[in-house]
């Protein structure tokens, strides 16, 4: 049997669902008051831009985790996507954008097929493709020695560096994808199938939910989105940096969990994930504001924070 969280009363329900949002608001208010520069438009724009890449990846991760799975390959796919975009940019905008989406999407598809058809553990399958994608990346870049540059005048750079009222394009891409993701999750049959698959897989099969198809789709989505995030980053950096994205899959998992998605599957929201990204990025930003603090402490603080959030969720759920 699946243990179901007992809903004691409406107030804890709200707190539980909005716990991360409340924390985010508090963090922002305190940071604003403590560091005058935090509230500056420039800083907020930067914050949003930095968060947008992670949001794109974490949307895919949210779907995967709600089905009860995990995708460890996204960090490698993110880096691979960036390099492929940079390499492809010499053949024009379309090549720069579609190449990473297709390649990373196909790797995601293979993940999904292996997990759904052969019943292998998602952890193992995606760990294998984490290694595979990172290896492929190193092979096509001569072990990282060869960094592909994107011509500064290409339209592709505009995708990463262009702005509206100073807000970078990637922010809008992430926002549109988040809205779309939320809509797909809550307002389509596919979304319902995602919840059913993670909530009670055996029952879902008996209820006629296409469980295998659903799994294949979420991993394909996750791979494609990781590739897109990589392409956006490459466009922003004007080059395919090979060393990025190491351990990014863990950041993505962390923000999804902080956002209230159950790691065991069956429950979660895109909005929560976006809030989770906001929290992590605000913490990092504040640490940068302090300046004197070694940037390595970012991870320490993020880690402690993740623990606090998870413990709080647990307590509130009682």
């Amino acid at each position: 049997m699946i243990t179901t969280p007992t809903v004691t009363n409406a107030r804890t329900k709200v707190l539980q669902r909005q716990g991360a949002a409340v924390a985010l608001v508090l963090m922002v208010v305190v940071s604003w008051l403590t560091f005058p520069r935090f509230g500056s438009l420039d800083n907020l724009r930067d914050l949003a831009l930095q968060g947008s890449f992670l949001v794109v990846i974490a949307i895919g991760m949210t779907f995967v985790i709600i089905t009860g799975g995990i995708d460890l390959s996204v960090g490698s796919l993110y880096a691979l996507g960036g390099v492929l975009a940079a390499w492809g940019s010499q053949y024009g905008f379309l090549a720069a954008l579609t190449l990473p989406l297709v390649v990373c999407g196909v790797i995601g598809l293979v993940n999904g097929l292996l997990i759904a058809r052969t019943n292998m553990a998602p952890f193992i399958v995606t760990l294998a493709s984490l290694l595979f994608a990172r290896g492929l990346l190193l092979a096509i870049t001569d072990e990282g020695a060869n960094t592909y540059q994107i011509p500064g005048d290409s339209a592709f750079v505009e995708l990463g560096r262009g702005t509206v009222f100073g807000f970078g394009y990637p922010i809008f891409v992430a926002a549109v994808l988040a809205v779309l993701g939320g809509m797909i999750l809550n307002r389509t049959s596919f979304g319902q199938n995602v919840f059913a698959t993670g909530g009670a897989e055996q029952s879902a099969v008996l209820l006629g939910v296409p469980v295998a198809k659903t799994k294949v789709l979420v991993y394909t989505m996750s791979g494609t989105l990781a590739g897109l995030a990589g392409a956006l980053t490459a466009a922003y950096l004007q080059s395919g940096v090979t060393v990025i994205g190491v351990g990014l899959e863990l950041d993505a998992i962390a923000v999804v969990v902080i956002g209230g998605t159950l790691l065991t599957g069956g429950m979660g929201t895109i909005l929560g994930t976006v809030i989770g990204v906001g929290l992590i990025k605000v913490i990092q930003n504040v640490i940068n504001q302090i300046g004197t603090l070694d940037s390595n402490y970012q991870s320490v603080v993020s880690g402690v924070f993740l623990l606090i959030v998870v413990v709080l969720q647990r307590i509130l759920r009682r």
Binding site: I2, S189, F195, A200, L207
Partner: protein, 504 residues
Amino acid sequence: MPTDPVIEVAGVTKTFAGVRALGDVDFALQRGEIHALVGENGAGKSTLIKVLTGIHTPDAGAITRNGHISTIYQEVNLVPLMSVSANLFLGREPRNRFGLIDRARRDADAAELLRGYGITADVSSPLGTLAVGEQQMVALARAVAADADVVIMDEPTSSLEPREVETLLGVVRKLHEAGIAIIYVSHRMDELYRICDTVTVLRDGVNVHSGPLKELPRIELVSLMLGRSVKEIEKHGTTAFGEGHHADTQPVLEARDLTSKPRIGGVSASIRPGEVVGLAGLLGSGRTETAKAIIGALPLDGGTVLVAGKPVAHNVKASMKAGISMLAEDRKTEGIIPNLSVRENIVLAALPRLSKFGVTSRSRQDRIVDTFIERLRIKVSSPEQKVAELSGGNQQKVLLARWLCTEPKILLLDEPTRGIDVGAKAEVQALIDELAREGLAVLLISSELDELLDGADRLVVLRDGSVAGELEGDQLTREHVLAAIAAEVMDDSDDHAGSHQDSH
């Protein structure tokens, strides 16, 4: 008899790993009838249902389906974390003009649909927050709303309270009136005779009887299920215990003043070799706790356990070494390790004794396992079969074998026949009898009074954690036991009503 079958199968055969589950079964469900499908566990009911619904493909035989089939399983197969309305409409959600799910309409439709089933719960709350009976009703509503012509119900009432059973049976009648054909699987004779028109009895994968139910006397039906003649059942009763045992005079186990607040206070009992002592009492009267106290699994505030006159240290290891073994009540959580093989499950407790310097002799294991499989008549395709694949009765026998191969002097059995079918029950009862005859001292806990009265030589009646009486010989009657249990209720007029509800 009009023949207008909605489903018809002819000569269906299905085997799993060399074991025949169905053999040349003919079955027809007529339009609009309520058809009882009965048989012991392992008789092939589930397999037949899965063949009917298309989950299994039969090895041989023909299937004709003239309608849409919905199945409701014993355990509610819905998604507890999703909302009631999402569960109800999963796969056929109402859409708005953009093709997106119309959540407001889904909730409204769900609320209206469920009102017909007497459910007024908030349809947007997670299904898991509803009572089990309500969840079952949601499952039923879902099945029916899917425009089913046939609804298959597999033990739908096994987890319901009496009041919920009535509601469910009411709904079944409504479906019947609406012309929906129903296959109703249940062990509960009362329900079957109340609502079913026809019956099919499966035994060992074969259809042994199909026909109108009302004309078939109950005892005849039981005899068809068991494959024993009516005379046999009348003579021996429904339990398989023999006559009293010849017990030695010196008790092998003595429990003195066992106290563990607040569950038990000062329970004393003794068992002689070759004797079966029953522990009777209502649920919560301290039966299981007494057994756990004896084997050292319950922290004690006071009291001693003596085996053959010598006190035993109060821990499980010492108790087992002294020759006490216990078969726990809940075999799923406290006994069986489903993914291990029959052999591994059996030798688990005896491993320390079978090994030298941590190395176990495989040939000795095999010898022991073979002996017990034969002796306890455990039905397996091989000792390497996974325990999870066995029926409840056979799992229970595997557990019994596990404790028997530790060569205990005293066996504590907590509800050994709960949740297993009639035939396996009889076999387990006969085994207990046989073991006592061979000199084992047995403590038998059962909620079934008949089982205790037939099986035990002596009864210790518990109430509220202490001994309310000991019955022997002529006193072993239903009236005496009930009197001993009821005394409490009469003494104590403001007694919690709970103890009554739980009495079966």
